[in-house]
């Protein structure tokens, strides 16, 4: 590493302009993350023109700060409103919302923030010191490996939804089915688009995510407002024990490390994205826990697992971007555009041609994490006040943001109709206890799984033996089978239990 370049980079990172730029990015991202309906990729694409007037270093750090801010901010709405700001924080809501309802909203927010910031900083450090020289390792993950990992993620995450396995299959099946809509990626022929050009690129992900996660939750809460008012929302009680303590921190620390590892792995592989990372991490934490039954009932480890992985994905997605020029996810792809506008071609050449800039960006990323800690810490005191706002005010505002966020996507009225349809679907799924998490993850994974599976089958020319030369793929296939068998065994056990207990549903 060139130390004079590092010194110059640190100097640039510590100017007032960069503090303002990066701080502004983190703050903006945090707000976008908090507001359900506004998503990370939309925020980045809207913010790119703002960066025209910044220096390349500040511009890129601003955008990375913005992504980091959304990942941390989305935990707030997940915890306080049960309406995650991003799909990747849906796992945070599973424990965050119950903990907040138990009168500990601040504890939940603080656990989420600490896990976010730690996941973020650790993954950034991995990016700087380990990953770029080893970015080529990502190339070992070809279509066979990716297909196997995706299949594993699908089965593993589906297994998380504890309820009825057949309902899980139904939810996952619907997700897979809707995930196949759109142009066939080889022949270019439309599948199930029924003549709607808007569906050519598939069901718009944002509509599906906002609809099933945030908007449907607002329907549920409106209903509660009518029938179950006393017991519906999170209240800020200013209890003395409502803050993160050293024992809690020590308890969640191993989970944060595990979450960071999983998030970094998932982020470094092009295409997987933060939702897969946070749910994988949540599932692993639950499997590793001594008392897995506490998950879903306000277990701080659940929040820490989801948030640390969610945030670790963001710096990790830059590993293939800086090392190979391949974006790890949508936000990283948008960054390529931002780099290009500033006259920088991102990729392996960046380290050779522009090391000062690259080190400045790294310094900026660490700075962004620290700013996020400070902003988040004071911000959550402010955001916690949301709980004082009566639900009949909060609900319409959130609904407004969901609809406005959809309009920003440029799908027009068609987008709103799709959004409403998925909100209704999400409402029914929540009402009748179908796992919307399984549905959403299946929907997100299916297009990638299809492409990689298809590539594997064509490239192997249908020859199974090729897997013997692919130990990583083989490993994940075995894991998938084990997960599948475990799931089947659990189904039979629950069936027996159900048969044993007479009329109880």
């Amino acid at each position: 590493m060139d130390f004079s370049a590092v010194g110059a980079a640190a100097a640039e990172a510590l100017t007032l302009a960069s503090f303002i730029g990066i701080g502004g990015g983190v703050l903006l991202g945090y707000v976008v993350g908090v507001v359900p309906g506004l998503s990370r990729s939309v925020a980045i694409s809207i913010a790119i023109p703002l960066t025209f007037y910044m220096s390349p270093y500040i511009a890129i750090s601003f955008l990375i700060g913005l992504s980091k801010g959304t990942a941390a901010g989305s935990a707030v709405s997940a915890i306080l409103l049960n309406a995650p700001g991003e799909a990747s924080s849906a796992a945070t809501a599973l424990d965050g919302y119950p903990l907040a309802k138990q009168g500990k909203p601040k504890t939940a927010l603080q656990v989420g923030l600490i896990a976010s910031v730690m996941g973020d900083i650790l993954a950034t450090i991995i990016l700087i010191f380990v990953a770029i020289p080893f970015a080529r390792v990502a190339l070992m993950f070809g279509p066979y490996e990716m297909a196997a990992i995706l299949a594993f993620a699908l089965v593993f995450i589906a297994g998380l939804s504890s309820g009825n396995v057949f309902k899980g299959l139904a939810a996952g099946g619907l997700g897979i089915f809707l995930g196949t809509i759109g142009l066939d990626n080889q022949t270019g022929l439309p599948r199930l688009t029924f003549g709607y050009t808007e569906l050519m690129d598939g069901m718009p992900l944002i509509a599906v995510a906002i609809g099933t996660l945030a908007l449907s939750e607002m329907f549920i809460q409106s209903e509660k407002l009518r029938y179950d008012r006393a017991n519906m929302s999170v209240r800020l009680e200013n209890r003395a024990d409502d803050h993160i303590t050293m024992p809690i921190f020590k308890r969640i620390l191993p989970t944060i490390f595990r979450g960071t590892g999983i998030g970094t792995f998932v982020g470094a592989l092009p295409g997987l994205g933060p939702s897969v990372g946070s749910f994988m991490s949540y599932g692993m934490a639950q499997k590793a826990a001594k008392q897995p039954e506490l998950f879903g009932k306000g277990e701080p480890k659940g929040i820490a697992a989801s948030e640390s992985a969610d945030n670790a994905v963001i710096p990790a997605a830059l590993i293939p971007l800086f090392g190979l020029g391949i974006p790890g996810n949508v936000s990283a792809a948008l960054l390529i555009g931002a780099f290009a506008i500033h006259g920088i071609t991102v990729g392996p050449l960046l380290l050779r041609d522009n090391p000062e800039l690259l080190y400045s960006i790294f310094a900026g990323m660490i700075l962004a994490s620290l700013i996020m800690l400070v902003l988040g810490w004071y911000g959550l005191m402010v955001f916690a006040q949301i709980t004082r706002v009566p639900p009949h005010v909060v609900i319409p505002i959130v609904i407004f943001f969901c609809l406005a966020g959809m309009m920003l996507q440029g799908y027009g009225t068609f987008g709103l109709i799709i959004l409403m349809a998925f909100a209704l679907l999400g409402y029914l799924m929540k009402k009748y206890d179908y796992s919307f998490v399984t549905f959403l993850v299946a929907f997100i994974i299916t297009p990638m799984l299809e492409l990689n599976l298809r590539q594997s089958i064509i490239l192997s020319r249908g020859n199974w033996e090729i897997l013997l030369n692919r130990p990583i793929a083989l490993f994940f296939i075995v894991c998938t089978l084990i997960a599948l068998i475990a799931l089947i065994i659990r189904t039979f056990q629950t069936d027996k239990a159900a048969a044993g207990a007479p009329v109880s549903e």
Binding site: N185, P320, Q455
Partner: protein, 309 residues
């Protein structure tokens, strides 16, 4: 050319309509539609172009992204735009030259007007820099001995490669990639032997990680003057694409003329040229309105013939 235009432009700024008194001028902010998501090369060029046009027309230009179906979504919505010149599209031709062949689109070439081309495409066939074949001839020779794999991105490049593989007796397996971002890991990771590239190669050829073996375009790329086209190699297939101004059908001639002039201004305008050539690595290609429309119809006919096979 640049200077005369700058002079005329400067004059109009000072003494309101004089030199351009008889030509069309926008009266309010304009909207530029881009049929792709933010961040891609069309979007990057388009956003810089919007600022160039603000300078040219003296009105703010808002950029609206309407992604989907390779530009088809934006074109479908564009059917309803007012033909008053205030809404226009910076579009790629594929949505007109290709999409209507494979799917039922609500629009066709006759539904729009075409006002000038600014940017050329550079579709090519690429292989890894360390592959045992360094030219397309060597690739064909290699393919006659061993089965090969190819990563496609569009049904058209697949059709061309299938025709060549048949003709040369190559055992070729073709995989989909889902775009340029998916192609690079497959090729660099050694999963496929060669691949289609819509422009992704530009960032890998300087390091020697990728080699362009042949261009699918009718003419050679100015950035790789030594790389031949397929036509030069004796395969009568070509695949071209350009980025142009599209206007709603029924737009009056004077507005089309004004956009043709704007295109002429932009291809000489430093920031736009710089971002196009140096950052997104596309060649600047200017065509007037008439030539743009003729090119679209030409390419469409060629694509229809290709896909009919």
């Amino acid at each position: 050319m640049k200077h005369t235009f700058a002079a005329v432009f400067g004059a109009t700024m000072l003494i309101a309509p004089m030199a351009l008194a008889d030509s069309w001028q926008p009266e309010r902010p304009m909207t530029m539609v881009i049929g792709f998501a933010p961040g891609g090369s069309t979007d990057i060029q388009g956003r810089v172009l919007a600022r160039t046009l603000e300078e040219h027309f003296g009105q703010p230009v808002n950029v609206v992204n309407q992604p989907g179906g390779g530009g088809a979504v934006a074109l479908t919505r564009f059917l309803n735009a007012d033909p008053d010149g205030h809404t226009f599209m910076f579009g790629v031709m594929l949505g007109l030259t290709f999409s209507p062949i494979v799917t039922e689109t609500e629009y066709d070439i006759d539904d729009f007007r075409y006002a000038g081309t600014l940017v050329g495409g550079q579709f090519g066939v690429v292989a890894r820099g360390d592959a045992p074949y360094q030219s397309f001839e060597e690739l064909v020779a290699h393919g006659k001995e061993t089965p090969m794999t190819y990563a496609q991105q569009l049904p058209m490049d697949q059709a061309i490669m299938e025709l060549i593989a048949d003709q040369e007796g190559i055992d070729l397996a073709i995989v989909p990639t889902g775009g340029g971002g998916g192609m690079a890991p497959l090729l660099l990771g050694g999963e496929v032997d060669f691949a289609f590239s819509g422009g992704t190669h530009a960032q890998y050829t300087p390091t020697g990680e990728m080699n362009v073996l042949a261009f699918l375009t009718r003419e050679r790329s100015p950035f790789y003057p030594d790389v031949p086209t397929l036509v030069e190699l004796g395969y009568p297939y070509a695949m071209d694409d350009f980025r142009s101004f599209f206007l709603p059908g029924g737009t009056p001639d004077e507005i089309v003329q004004a956009f043709e002039d704007a295109a002429r201004f932009a291809v000489e305008h430093e920031p736009f040229v710089e971002v196009t050539v140096e950052n997104t690595l596309h060649p600047i290609v200017f065509m007037d309105a008439e030539e743009t429309e003729a090119t679209i119809r030409d390419i469409r006919t060629a694509n229809e013939a290709l896909m009919a096979n």
